[in-house]
Symmetry: C2
Subunit: 199 residues, 2 copies
């Protein structure tokens, strides 16, 4: 009975339930919250979404998300310092930007190599990466891929492709800032011990 009457509301619940992290129950809760906060939240959200749907696009150069063909990082001449940070996903780029310490440019692969899922180099932006290293006079490529099997396999593949063309580095592995040894896995502790530093 509710279905016939409030089709839009039911549709909205069904769409919200497709978001990562929301299921049917939390989608219903979110929709009731949205209806209650119509002016403050629902209307601005609808407008911003349709704005983003109209303007968001992938940077043709690096794969970052932006609102023009080239993202602002690629357009920013002060960031052309010869350093290129290779990440798996846009979310990784955002995470590094939040740290605010890297001043070069990025290259977003869009995933990792995976034999199981039949994802090869041409499915990622690896050929484009090889082009960029040559055309943008890159001195150092930082392979900031996830410390997973697939991430490390991809890093090794890229390192092979770029061998001799630039300095290749990876992120340091060790104890996270604020981390407690008791809660760390053996692999991390082993890596931290092996890469121990003089004080």
């Amino acid at each position: 009975m509710i279905k016939n009457s409030t089709t839009d509301i039911e549709d909205l619940i069904a769409l919200m339930a497709k978001l990562p992290g929301l299921g049917p129950r939390s989608a219903r809760r979110a929709v009731l919250h949205l209806i209650r906060k119509r002016a403050l939240l629902l209307t601005p959200l609808a407008e911003t979404m349709s704005e983003v749907a109209a303007t968001a696009r992938e940077c043709l150069n690096c794969g970052n998300v932006g609102t023009s063909d080239l993202c602002t990082i690629c357009e920013d001449l002060t960031r052309a310092n010869g350093e290129l940070c290779v990440v798996e996903e846009v979310s990784d780029l955002w995470a590094i930007e939040r740290a605010g310490v890297f001043k070069g440019r990025y290259h977003v692969l869009g995933g990792t190599l995976s034999a199981l899922d039949a994802i090869g180099p041409e499915d990622l932006r690896i050929p484009r990466l090889v082009d960029r290293v040559q055309s943008e006079a890159i001195r150092e490529v930082i392979l900031a891929l996830n410390a997973t099997i697939d991430g490390q396999t991809t890093a090794h593949y890229i390192a092979d492709q770029l061998h001799g063309q630039a300095r290749l580095t990876s992120l340091a592995q060790g104890v996270p800032i604020g981390g407690e040894l008791d809660y760390l896995d053996e692999g991390t502790i082993t890596a931290a011990l092996r890469a121990r530093k003089d004080i």
Copy 2:
């Protein structure tokens, strides 16, 4: 730097992070997912949200959410069977409708009485409930409030107000279907024992 470039995207993340159940991290994940599924998810979501923002309203009679002044349950003549189910929130009404067993009408209070938060009967829809019991020839009022202190206090207050005007009932308390005794609290087991039934 990202902030200047992708203001709409940053705005969208900030708005999404205000939804119940989403924080900044899951909002970023959701927004990237939305941008990736633009045609399938982002555009329909933007359109449905602006539709709901334009049409959703509270039923003037019962407080349910719908798209006209009277919700379809209040407009449905076959549901005027003299039974009125009182719930705290619209989400409770939806939960009972999903069970599909109740064929009467609802009354959504919009919360519970609370001395701490200074919520009195006139802040809820209790005066309107008293009116409805008289004007709609209600025979039975089912107080389907949550089994919390505030819910039960509110139920007692309403029972006082409606005393003698209709049959007053509450939901049965006991072991949930599929529930395992080992995981139930003592209060539920006590209630289930006290209300035990002959087989």
